[in-house]
């Protein structure tokens, strides 16, 4: 490199850098590290801060708003001396006119032929910060809204649940409290006929019998409502249950009805293990068996119980009868509370299948029917099966 001769004419490269310095849309300034005073500033920065360049030259950084105060300036310089540079990611400052702006500040310590000089870059990030702040605010607002929304949903769900629980408790209380006076009506009207028949005219006996029959009907209705409310409210916990034992237990409960109807009941093995709540599943089976032996035609009732394991692990239990069957248009409706197809020929409350439906729903299962009039009804319920791996079945058998 040849020594540079002092000349009034700047070199091409000097010109180039001078133009860069003058035209840059970024603040550049040079500071003398010894005095900490500004020795040069580019027009952009001067204008940005609200000064003429001449007003800035010779000042300290804090005097023109760059760096917060003298102490801040001193600490920045200490860092500069230690590390050779200083970087402030975000510096808030006020322009001469008082406008709050945000800048990114970089200072580098250079050695120019044994003469140290600090070159600083000031990058205006006010707009960027504004949008970043707006975005953060929007995010905060959004998450606050989400939280609020969740709270509202929570509150409403709780309200609904409480209302529902109150309603179900109400049904229970009503059904329960109505039974006591009914027992009185039924009991004494029966006693009237049985113990005082001689004192009564035939018509009076008939009237007493009407009271008796009506009270018994109402009592059955309340009993079923109680079961419905119990199935609705009961805490449901699903356990692996061997179906065979439950089917047997349900059949035992129906013994009297089966005997009266002289039904032939057949159970077809194999019986898989299902995930269910014992009391609820038992109630569902009792109702289905009760129905199967009740809605019979001229022929003696034949009832068949069997299970089917689907490839998807779902177990379908069938309760098939040879009874009167159900027309297609009624097959959905019969699962609703108080829906009865037959009022005179077959006694009933219209709650039995609603209990089936509710019970299955509470256990996460389903219920349905395949039937046509005169060809019997095949009721089914679906539950999750329990795969019989050897360990599992071992465990089940160990249970008392």
């Amino acid at each position: 490199m040849s020594p540079v001769a002092p000349t009034a004419v700047p070199s091409t490269s000097e010109l180039r850098y001078r133009r860069l310095f003058e035209a840059a849309r970024e603040g550049i300034l040079l500071v003398d590290p010894a005095t900490r005073r500004i020795i040069e500033v580019n027009p952009f920065l001067a204008e940005f801060l609200g000064y003429r360049p001449a007003e800035i030259i010779g000042r300290e950084l804090f005097e023109v708003g760059l760096l917060p105060d003298e102490a801040g300036t001193q600490s920045a310089f200490r860092e500069l001396h230690t590390h050779g540079y200083v970087y402030l990611e975000e510096l808030s400052l006020r322009t001469r006119a008082g406008r709050l702006v945000h800048v990114e500040f970089t200072g580098n310590l250079y050695d120019e032929d044994g003469q140290p000089v600090i070159q600083c870059h000031v990058h205006d990030i006010t707009e960027r910060k504004k949008s970043a702040d707006a975005l953060a605010a929007a995010r905060r607002k959004l998450s606050r809204h989400a939280v609020e929304l969740e709270a509202i949903v929570d509150r409403r769900t709780t309200q609904l649940r409480l209302t529902n629980e109150q309603l179900e408790a109400f049904v229970y209380t009503i059904a329960h409290d109505l039974r006591a006076p009914l027992r009185t009506m039924q009991g004494f009207s029966q006693l009237l006929v049985e113990e005082h028949a001689a004192a009564l005219s035939e018509q009076a006996r008939d009237y007493a019998n009407f009271i008796n029959t009506a009270a018994q009907t109402l009592d059955r209705l309340l009993a079923d409502l109680l079961v419905f409310s119990q199935v609705s409210q009961e805490k449901i916990e699903l356990l692996p249950l061997p179906l065979e034992a439950l089917v047997q237990s349900a059949l035992t409960s129906c013994e009297a009805e089966i005997a009266v109807s002289r039904a032939q009941v057949e159970t077809v093995a194999p019986w898989p293990v299902v995930l269910a709540h014992p009391a609820t599943l038992r109630q569902v089976l009792v109702n289905l068996i009760g129905n199967a032996v009740k809605f019979v035609g001229a022929a003696l009732p034949r009832v068949r119980l069997r299970a089917e394991e689907g490839v998807d692990g779902i177990v379908r239990v069938w309760v098939e009868d040879n009874g009167i069957g159900i027309p297609l248009e009624f097959q959905q409706r019969i699962f609703q509370v108080f829906q009865r197809l037959h009022t005179i020929e077959y006694p009933g409350t219209g709650i039995g299948l609603a209990i089936v439906q509710k019970g299955m729903e509470r256990m996460g299962g389903r219920a349905g029917v395949v039937s046509s009039p005169g060809a019997g009804s095949n009721f089914w319920i679906e539950l999750a099966g329990v795969p019989l791996d050897p360990n599992r079945s071992q465990k089940l058998e160990e249970k008392p």
């Binding site: 009185t184 006693l191 009270a215």
Partner: protein
């Protein structure tokens, strides 16, 4: 000494139900007199021998309590709890006869020491069936004679522990003692 005769105290606030029970007990051939209390408080008074109940010839201590749960004043649960704290009633069998079939009620009754839980049938034939079964069962049972009210804590306390005593018991006990 043992006795084969059950003494049944029926605790029910419904006089209609009590009357029906008396009828079905008679029809089922129960020859012993039934005793009645119309509330939990009355049952406790009977068992303690308060007032007119001090006459144990008219109001003998029962071997078997047939008790409703839902009653005004002290309910069946409270009576069960109270009985559990009376050492002299340790031979008393308590059968719950309630209209409630709620699992919570059934569990609570057993937890408080009920010996049996029967749900009140909804009709006369059901009641008659219940009375028949119950009487057959009572006939199969042998009963130990009731203990006197002041049957002492002292002989039992090492087994029962202090927790079996309530202040009320202690007060009642001392009253009985001073009377003796």
């Amino acid at each position: 000494m043992t006795t084969d005769d059950p003494v049944v105290l029926l605790v029910d606030d419904s006089s209609n139900d009590s009357l029906l029970m008396r009828t079905v007990f008679e029809r089922a051939g129960f020859l012993h007199p039934l005793h009645f209390a119309r509330s939990g408080d009355e049952a406790i008074a009977y068992l303690r021998g308060d007032g007119r109940y001090a006459d144990r010839l008219l109001f003998p201590l029962p071997t078997t309590l047939l008790m409703d749960l839902n009653m005004p004043g002290k309910n069946g649960f409270e009576v069960l709890d109270w009985i559990g704290h009376q050492p002299y009633l340790r031979r008393l069998r308590v059968y719950i006869l309630s209209a409630s079939s709620r699992p919570e009620d059934i569990e609570r009754a057993y937890d408080l020491g009920a010996d049996s839980y029967l749900v009140k049938p909804g009709n006369f034939d059901g009641l008659l069936h219940l009375a028949n079964c119950l009487i057959s069962w009572l006939k199969l049972n042998h009963f130990a004679p009731s203990l006197p009210v002041h049957d002492d804590f002292e002989s039992l306390s090492p087994f029962l522990g202090a927790s079996a005593r309530t202040e009320e018991d202690a007060r009642h006990h001392s009253l009985v003692r001073s009377a003796v």
